[in-house]
């Protein structure tokens, strides 16, 4: 009897959901999740296909253990906007925020401890190389480094006043940091010296990702996509084949992730593009109208196909290849898809 009721309810719900696919999105937005006051999520990091963290405005840190379906808010003693998060494994991670805010955890985020930075800079990017070593970058050309798990952070700030937005390393020696006005800084000696690479663009770069010490992709303002096959000695601009009407309405790309030849990049106004050839060509993922009203700030790949995207008003989007699979708002993402 009970089982039958369940089945009937499920069928009814299914029919309702099918009939009101348009409404599903709206109804969700009406809840506190995704509505006014829902914090923007600005950064995320997955250590495997299941476990990941995300952070955002108003000192929010979320944790998932099912690949981004359900998120649980973690306790962290701050209201400060959190701008970047990086986990080395399921235990050790850092989160960085406004004006030199950095917290560190060694228990998967159950407890967070504040760390002192040499200067009060916004920490826009974090990249840990081991449990001891971690890089951080931010505004005013700030680059910080720790070799002791964050007890002390060294100041390696650049001379130029440029905002640095993203860091990636291949091994402990080869590293890249990208930022304002197409700046790409490179190190081949583990950060002792940083030299500028020629990006060939004035457009600000928001994200960089390398798949080997030779091949990498950087993305930024006005649909800028740069690609290198020689560790950054030469960067080539990738021109996307944009449909009519989009050519003079370029969107910014805020985050890129690569995994072998496959990759995904996300940005302004629901902009989601994917590549299957190491970034030479990109394909636009079709998103429902409503999704295109939200900006996507960060993307992570769970495996070769699946990716989790976070952004405006705590939106969470899941993709598989070049298809949108699920969407919703923190803390729960559910399968029914809104219509195109």
């Amino acid at each position: 009897m009970k089982k039958r009721t369940h089945i009937i309810i499920s069928i009814l719900l299914g029919v309702l959901l099918y009939l009101s696919q348009d409404v599903v999105f709206a109804a969700k937005a009406k809840q506190k999740e995704g509505g006014i006051g829902a914090p923007h999520i600005l950064s995320e990091c997955f250590v495997d296909a299941k476990e990941g963290w995300a952070c955002g405005l108003r000192g929010t840190v979320y944790h998932t253990t099912d690949g981004g379906m359900k998120w649980e808010q973690q306790n962290i003693d701050t209201e400060v906007p959190l701008l970047s998060i990086y986990f080395l494994n399921s235990q050790v991670g850092w989160v960085g925020g406004k004006t030199g805010t950095v917290f560190h955890t060694v228990d998967g985020g159950k407890t967070w401890k504040a760390q002192a930075m040499p200067k009060k800079r916004h920490v826009f990017a974090l990249k840990a190389l081991s449990t001891e070593k971690c890089w951080a970058a931010g505004d005013w050309g700030s680059i910080f480094y720790t070799a002791d798990g964050g007890n002390t952070w060294e100041d390696k700030t650049l001379e130029k006043d440029l905002i640095m937005y993203s860091i990636d390393f291949q091994g402990e020696k080869e590293g890249w940091i990208v930022g304002e006005y197409g700046t790409i800084m490179h190190t081949a000696d583990g950060g002792i010296t940083w030299t500028e690479q020629k990006s060939g663009t004035e457009n600000t770069l928001f994200s960089v990702c390398f798949i080997s010490d030779r091949e990498g992709v950087a993305v930024g303002l006005s649909n800028t996509i740069l690609r290198t096959e020689d560790g950054g000695r030469t960067w080539n601009k990738i021109e996307m084949n944009l449909p009519e009407g989009m050519k003079d309405d370029l969107r910014s790309i805020y985050s890129v992730k690569m995994r072998g030849d496959k990759g995904i990049a996300v940005g302004d106004r629901g902009w989601i593009i994917t590549t299957t050839d190491g970034g030479k060509t990109w394909k636009i993922t079709q998103v429902p109208l409503d999704v295109s009203l939200f900006w996507c700030c960060a993307v992570q790949m769970l495996d070769d196909d699946r990716a989790v995207i976070v952004g405006m008003r705590s939106i969470v989007i899941m993709t598989e290849g070049d298809k949108l699979k699920m969407m919703g708002f923190m803390p729960v993402v559910s399968p029914p898809m809104p219509k195109k």
Binding site: A29, I36, S252, W295
Partner: protein, 801 residues
């Protein structure tokens, strides 16, 4: 009883009758003057400033910043589509049309008209190489691409979605602020009805709510109010005809009521006062009291004429007896109503002054005029079975038979018979004990539960299913809320707001309000805009939705925002020299408790987060105004209640020359007041600026009834020497007139229950209830109290002249 003293009242009456022509001439002249004032100077309308207590800190704050931050009287309109969303040519065109129409309405503050199509709604965007701040809609969109672009702008700008457009894109909000001074409510009502009619079609519905609209609705009901008052008057007239069946029994009370009304209303014209439509209930009640005094006097005249058979003697006798209770009750009520002036709300003060003048004018229209009028009419026809006569005549036992004197009296005498038993048998104890218990226990319960301003203004005045309240629900459920409270951040020098700490506190206070005050739907500060612009400064990167730290950066942002808006647009968020700023908090729903809690929550936050150079001041916006009004109303209600009770006690003690006699009147009064408060609680009638004066003036009805009964009791007791028969006589004579006036007034006022305005309907119920219980109090509790306390101690020393 000395002979000399006993003649004072009689001498006055005799003098009045001798000088009847001069007195009449003076009254006619003054009445003519007041008619002139009434016709040309009295304006029945709402003046918003009259509702604000001027010395209250919230009102001072409001007045100080009103020109900068705008008026608190904001109207909200929701345009909703049935099919599709609002991003279509037709709907946006309608929004544009409404916006333009609103700008032309008299009294509007053009800076506070804002809608999706108004250029004031800004889009912060990155151009190819520059930052652009421009209207969300420059020209009305035509093509699907343009419509699409509008939608994108709505979504990408903070403070647009949820505030001006619902999350489901089916409705959009239009605001219009109105200055208190320039508002013409009738014109506003007409204009809004026209706009509504022109806008609505199969796919569009327009909802209108907000304070100016509420008062526009009230103004639109004013003519219906007159109709109901006229019907009430007609019913009273009918009852008088039925009861007295003599010309004088009809004409004299009606003349008294009319003259009182003319004097009272005319007096307000002399003082140059407006009369608020919601307060109109009170004049109606006051005139009803004039009629009720007049009926008492006539009743007595009819009785005395039956005994003496001589017109002049009957006039002198009856009015001599009535002079004292009439004057005492007029003075008590007059002074009691005057105590309303302790309230610093101008509307209440004026009501106190007019009300007390009105009551004092009853002296002229009844005590002075009635005996004179009566001389012009033929005496009532001789009666076969006179009612129990008074004074010496009552001492003979054969006159104790109570017969039906006029056929209209039958029903009333049945009621009298029912009441008589309570003053004498074991029932006197039961009555007194029940009254004491109800008064004390009920009083405690009521004082705990009765709250001033328990519902929002709209729901207190209009029915829940009224278009206004439907619109209010629409605004409050689908948008951040239509009721604003404003916190002003006051800097002590130029540029005080342009520092990181001040900016952060502004932002955090808004977030804190949203998180910690349940009814808050959202908050807007200059910080929100600053973050948006700061993000745009940094290539539009979302991680830059941060507040700048450097004062130079902050000022840079302010300049950009200020420079891209036309004069005054940003004033409601920040002053032009960056000295002052605001936190605007939107409430979905409110009552007095919500406002009080919100204010204390905010006060706590402000105390815990001090900012250098900046002082935070509460509370602007409509909710700040309501908070100040409620505070004033609450305290003045208790003061004027206390004053009425104390006055009644003191005057009773003086009149009856007994300290215990004072208690006799006070307890039944308290009893019916407690029952009334209970009734208001049970019926969920809101205690507010409009209903409290009604309750305060209503108490006086009890004073009238009580004084007449008590005086008659004293008189009869002293003549007859037997308390039981004194009760019998008093109830069957004066008591009968009390029952008649109370039931007639109830009969007239019952009509109000069917009013289109919930407020009037509830006030009708309240007054009916109040009069009924005051009648019972006078007829049952007063004889019982006298019996229990002992007639010797209480009414022996009353001077029967």
């Amino acid at each position: 009883m000395t002979e000399e003293k006993s003649n004072i009242w009689q001498k006055i009456i005799e003098w009045q009758l001798r000088q009847r022509y001069p007195i009449l001439a003076v009254i006619v002249l003054i009445t003519a003057f007041f008619i002139y004032e009434l016709a040309f100077k009295v304006n029945i309308t709402t003046d918003f400033f009259e509702l604000y207590p001027p010395r209250h800190p919230y009102i001072q704050l409001y007045k100080q910043y009103r020109s900068m931050f705008g008026t608190a009287n904001v109207m909200s309109m929701v345009l909703e589509v049935k099919n599709g969303d609002i991003y279509n040519k037709d709907t946006l065109k309608k929004v544009d049309r409404i916006t333009k129409d609103l700008l032309a309405v008299k009294g509007v503050d053009p800076l506070q008209v804002i809608s999706l199509t108004h250029p004031r709604l800004k889009n912060f965007g990155v151009g190819s190489n520059a930052i652009s701040v421009g209207p969300i809609i420059k020209v009305l969109p035509e093509t699907p691409e343009e419509l699409r672009a509008v939608k994108e702008k709505v979504y990408s700008n903070e403070g647009v979605r949820g505030v001006y457009v619902t999350l489901n894109d089916k409705a959009t909000l239009i605001y219009a602020g109105f200055w208190e001074e320039g508002l013409d409510l009738r014109n506003l009502f007409k204009e809004m009805q026209r706009i509504k009619k022109e806008t609505e079609d199969a796919n569009h519905t327009l909802y209108i709510t907000g304070y100016p609209m509420l008062y526009a609705w009230i103004a639109s009901y004013t003519s219906k109010l007159y109709q109901i008052f006229i019907f009430t008057g007609l019913i009273l007239l009918g009852m008088l005809i039925y009861y007295f069946r003599t010309i004088i029994g009809v004409i004299v009370p009606i003349t008294s009521g009319l003259i009182s009304a003319i004097w009272g209303l005319g007096f307000s014209g002399v003082l140059g006062y407006n009369i608020d439509p919601l307060i109109l209930v009170i004049p109606m009640l006051l005139s009803a009291r004039a009629i009720s005094h007049s009926v008492q006097c006539l009743e007595r005249y009819h009785q005395d004429y039956a005994v003496y058979g001589d017109k002049k003697k009957a006039i002198i006798k009856s009015y001599t007896y009535l002079y004292k209770p009439a004057v005492v009750s007029i003075v008590t009520d007059g002074l009691g109503v005057l105590t309303i002036v302790v309230c610093t709300i101008p509307l209440m003060q004026k009501l106190g002054i007019i009300g007390s003048f009105w009551i004092i004018s009853i002296y002229v229209s009844v005590v002075l005029l009635n005996p004179i009028l009566v001389t012009f009419f033929p005496p009532p026809k001789p009666q076969k079975n006179p009612t129990p006569p008074t004074g010496q005549a009552a001492m003979t036992s054969e006159t104790r038979d109570v017969g039906v004197t006029r056929s209209g009296e039958g029903a009333y005498l049945v009621a009298c018979k029912f009441c008589t038993s309570f003053g004498v048998s074991w029932k006197k104890w039961a009555s007194v004990i029940v009254m004491m218990v109800v008064t004390v226990v009920g009083g405690i319960l009521v004082s705990v539960h009765v709250k001033v301003g328990d519902t929002s203004a709209g729901r207190a005045i209009l029915y829940d299913d009224h278009a206004y309240n439907i619109a209010a629900r629409k605004v409050n459920t689908e948008f951040v809320g239509s009721n604003q409270m404003v916190v002003v951040a006051e800097g002590n020098k130029k540029g005080a707001i342009a520092n990181a700490q001040a900016m952060k506190t502004l932002e955090d206070m808004g977030v804190y309000a949203v998180d910690n005050i349940p009814s808050v739907g959202g908050a807007i500060t200059i910080s929100d805009m600053t973050k948006m612009v700061f993000k745009v400064f940094h290539d539009g990167y979302p991680k830059w939705l941060l507040l700048p730290e450097d004062p130079n950066h902050i000022e840079q942002v302010f300049r950009l925002v200020g420079g891209s808006s036309t004069g005054g647009e940003m004033d409601k968020y920040i002053s032009r020299d960056y000295t002052n700023a605001t936190v605007i908090i939107f409430f979905r729903d409110y009552n007095n408790q919500v406002i009080k809690d919100a204010i204390s929550t905010l006060k706590k936050y402000i105390a815990e987060h001090p900012v250098e150079q900046v002082t935070f001041r509460l509370a602007g916006g409509i909710l700040g105004i309501l908070a100040s009004v409620n505070e004033e109303v609450e305290y003045s209600y208790w003061i004027s209640m206390a004053a009425i009770f104390i006055l009644t006690y003191v005057l009773c003690v003086m009149t009856y020359r007994s300290f215990t006699a004072g208690l006799i009147l006070i307890f039944p009064l308290a009893f019916s007041q407690v029952l009334c408060d209970w009734f208001m609680l049970a019926m969920k009638i809101d205690l507010n600026i409009s209903s409290l004066p009604v309750a305060a003036v209503g108490v006086g009805v009890g004073v009238d009834y009580g004084l007449y009964i008590l005086s008659r009791l004293a008189e009869e007791y002293q003549w007859q020497g037997n308390y039981e028969s004194a009760v019998f006589t008093a109830i069957n004579t004066t008591g009968k007139a009390v029952i008649f006036t109370a039931t007639s007034l109830i009969g007239g006022i019952v009509l109000w229950i069917f009013s289109d305005m919930k407020f009037q309907s509830e006030m009708g119920m309240l007054l009916c209830f109040l009069m009924f219980f005051n009648m019972l109090g006078a007829l049952i509790l007063i004889p019982a109290m006298v019996a229990v306390l002992g007639p010797e101690r209480t009414i022996r020393k009353y001077k029967v002249d």
